[in-house]
Chain length 148, copies 2
């Protein structure tokens, strides 16, 4: 697997992750711990909402896709965390059995002025379901090591 | 407990949640599932990073605080989900044993033009640790029911 460092990313570069499916059990377990709104925890109550059935917590969707990004290896060598995300948008519900993958596009790369061994890479992410619909998008800032 | 609807929020209103502590076990379990970066999963490896020890995944921190918001009841009657968050910033690491609470300030309230039974409330959130430091902030859009 290739190791990517800050120096290896250029605006316009794109990466696509593998895909994974989310189960009703995963959705309900996450929601009971962190986001117990009825449309995330109770399939019967969820039917009566605007969603027409159980949907994943948006917090879980972000994290579920990040696992795919991590497993793709693109951040593995260089990631030192993230200062923040911008324009996080939940575009479509994620339902039990949905299969997601993530598309990433590099937007900006800059070396830190004060700590020249690292820098910030900004990337735009889209999480895409099995029907090709975008379900979530955001721009992330990644603090990345430079190539040693 | 008071039920709040869209009509009950005005710009400048503030709410403070209860507090809760996060354990090393919770941090590691979440990270193994969703964000297995070494500084979230491995206390020994984390010592050698810029964080100097294990820290919570930022995805977990957002969700952990949302649980406090939900439990405060302020969104319970009216929440229909969220279209998105803006300017999400992880400001300080969250470490095992940290105790967080959340401060919310209403920024904007507007009724939907197309669906007059609901609308958007925008609020600024700060998650605060036991030392009074902000660890996370963001602006959320909430889709809320109007008072029936």
């Amino acid at each position: 697997m290739t190791d990517y460092y800050l120096d290896d990313f250029k605006p316009g570069d794109t990466f696509t992750t593998g895909s994974a499916s989310i189960s009703e059990r995963e959705i309900v377990d996450f929601a009971l711990a962190y986001d117990p709104q009825p449309f995330h925890t109770d399939p019967a109550a969820a039917k009566a909402t605007i969603y027409g059935g159980l949907i994943a917590s948006g917090f879980q969707t972000i994290a579920f896709g990040f696992r795919l990004i991590w497993d793709s290896g693109v951040l593995r060598a260089a990631s030192m965390g993230s200062p923040g995300f911008d324009e996080l948008r939940w575009l479509k519900p994620v339902r039990p059995g949905d299969t997601l993958h993530v598309e990433m596009e590099v937007k900006e790369v800059r070396v830190s002025q004060s700590k020249p061994d690292r820098g910030i890479m900004r990337a735009f992410y889209r999480y895409v379901n099995q029907s090709g619909e975008d379900v979530l998008s955001y721009t992330a800032m990644h603090l990345l090591r430079r190539r040693p």
